[in-house]
């Protein structure tokens, strides 16, 4: 079994994953997807700016790109709720994914969120159901799907956009069922234990890869992704393109079956002889 990171190393990954200058979805667009055409709205309630999406061209393929956008400046971060989506954000993602489905465009998602938006209106507007439906929608797409965890993969709010044929993670990104702070507060009753929680939860990319939970770790430039947006964006989109091309070689029904099998196999348990 993979050894956990030290608390210090785990915390460093958490800090890098949350770095304010870390490239976000629209930075990947700016540096590697020049013809991106943004689309808006969930056609039901509103347009959630925590989730951006639209069409783009990746090599010779048109794709649908959907990603969380936290924002870099305080003003932008407030407008985008720090990348925390409300139900309309998940519904927007589902709508765009179905558009990809209808026109045979591979769907690529970039995940970077502390989690779903925790608010009264979001809850009453069906946050839980929207996340569940989003998972269901992405599970059922006949087109190839690729997810890259580019920063924070925070719990159900991340998973709603992260069910895919291929799940890639940046070297210093994190993906977790609960924030290290939340975990520390719950079990250690001390949020200051967050670094220990981060290590115990194995939030880092390398550890999750070793546990078989993600498919590939994409290296970052020395110092972290924020030091060179262009290099990072080019590298990520090259990896996504490889994954999409590999997936396009599969028969659509096989691809769907393999995706379902992948998620039905998820888990770590033992089977004892009950007879």
């Amino acid at each position: 079994m993979a050894e956990p990171m030290t608390p210090e190393a785990a915390w460093e990954a958490v800090q890098l994953a949350r770095h304010q200058d870390r490239p976000q979805s629209l930075d990947y667009v700016a540096h590697a997807l020049p013809d991106f055409l943004e689309l808006s709205g969930d056609r039901l309630h509103g347009d959630d700016k925590a989730v951006v999406g639209g069409f783009a061209t990746l090599g010779t393929h048109h794709i649908v790109l959907i990603g969380h956008q936290k924002g870099h400046t305080l003003k932008e971060r407030q407008e985008r709720s720090f990348g925390m989506s409300r139900p309309e954000g998940y519904r927007k993602a589902m709508r765009l994914a179905r558009l990809g489905e209808k026109f045979g465009l591979p769907v690529v998602t970039l995940v970077d969120t502390p989690g779903a938006y925790p608010g009264k209106d979001a809850e009453e507007g069906g946050q839980a159901g929207a996340i569940a439906r989003s998972i269901e929608t992405f599970a059922g797409l006949m087109v190839p799907t690729v997810t890259v965890i580019i920063g924070e993969g925070g719990s159900g709010g991340a998973l709603a956009l992260a069910l895919a044929d291929r799940v890639l993670m940046l070297e210093n990104s994190i993906y977790s069922v609960i924030s290290p702070e939340g975990c520390a507060a719950l079990v250690w009753r001390d949020a200051a234990e967050a670094s220990r929680a981060a290590a115990a939860l194995r939030v880092g990319a390398r550890g999750l890869f070793e546990l078989g939970l993600v498919d590939k770790v994409i290296p970052e430039p020395p110092g972290g992704a924020h030091t060179d947006h262009r290099a990072m964006a080019e590298r990520v989109m090259a990896e996504v393109r490889l994954a999409v091309e590999e997936l396009l070689r599969l028969d659509a029904r096989d691809r769907l079956r393999l995706r379902h099998e992948r998620y039905l196999k998820m888990g770590s348990y033992t089977v004892v002889d009950s007879r």
Partner: protein, 290 residues
């Protein structure tokens, strides 16, 4: 400190408050008085009324085996997927080791995990019935819950039975890290098997249904029934108040509020639950003469 503090299996969006709302079921029999309305209760009265106070209608928490006994026809129950047992994939140690928490939960509940899966008949209709037990690490969803759900859904499809799942959960099983988050995906994909087979899938949401369970298999059913007074939320009330500084109204996330906001189909008193469930299932079965 209530014993519910051992429900360390709960994810981000769960507040300790939720678990402290009431003592664990069974640990403290309510005695002669209802702990909600203080009305006197005759001996055995609460059990006869399915653990609903006959005076105020308060729904007491229900252990999984009792739930199965209330919904399934007598003598028709066979438990399945018990062979799926937990491991400690991350060697997770916080203040205590995860295996110790599991051992304690097993000892205190008599269950081998938080999800009890059964094949049974409900008013003569063959069905697959799953029940989450909140007493077992807060009904948190780890790999075993996901795999038992999967096996139950598979059995339902193979035997052409509807799937009925009673949820009650603090969320994800934190000690299994990302494996537990993936159970949201797994259970949703498993439930798709029923969609493809055009078989009914009904969920019954009990107090509390939160976090990863609420945002996965609980809310994609054909019909969603809630028990009165249950609280459902994805993010816990404390997280909401801390993050957004919003003051939450009384009754936030309650079954009645969820009904008003269009998130569940009906709120059904436990004493009417079996009848209502049977009506739902018979409509979903298709032909009136079938």
């Amino acid at each position: 400190m209530p014993r519910s503090s051992c429900a360390g299996g709960m994810a981000k969006y769960v507040t300790i408050q939720v678990t402290r709302r009431e003592p664990p079921p069974g640990a403290q029999p309510p005695g002669e008085h209802c702990k909600k309305c203080n009305a006197p209760l005759a001996e055995g009265e609460l059990e006869r009324s399915l653990r609903v106070c006959p005076h105020c209608g308060y729904h007491y928490p229900l252990p999984a085996h009792e739930r199965v006994a209330q919904l399934a026809d007598k003598g028709t129950v066979s438990f399945v997927a018990e062979e799926v047992q937990p491991v400690d994939p991350l060697a997770f140690v916080d203040l205590r080791a995860y295996p110790d928490r599991l051992a304690e939960a097993k000892f205190e509940t008599g269950l081998s995990e938080a999800f009890l899966a059964a094949l049974c008949e409900i008013s003569g209709m063959p069905a697959a019935l799953g029940v989450l037990d909140f007493r077992f690490l807060g009904g948190s969803m780890g790999s075993v819950v996901g795999e038992r759900f999967h096996r139950l859904a598979k059995a339902a499809v193979e035997q052409r039975r509807p799937l009925v799942v009673v949820a009650g959960s603090g969320g994800a099983r934190m000690q299994e890290g990302l494996f537990s988050l993936m159970q949201m995906a797994k259970t949703v994909v498993a439930a798709q098997m029923l969609v493809e087979a055009r078989l009914p899938y009904v969920t019954i949401l009990t107090h509390p249904t939160t976090g990863g369970v609420f945002a996965s298999f609980a809310t994609i059913a054909d019909i969603i029934i809630a028990e009165p007074g249950a609280v459902m939320s994805f993010a816990g009330p404390r997280i909401i108040e801390q993050t957004t500084r919003e003051k939450l109204p009384p009754g936030f996330g309650s079954s009645e509020s969820q009904l008003a906001h269009g998130q569940v189909d009906m709120v059904v008193d436990r004493r009417d639950l079996k009848d209502r469930l049977v009506r739902c299932l018979s409509f979903l079965r298709g032909r009136a003469d079938g």
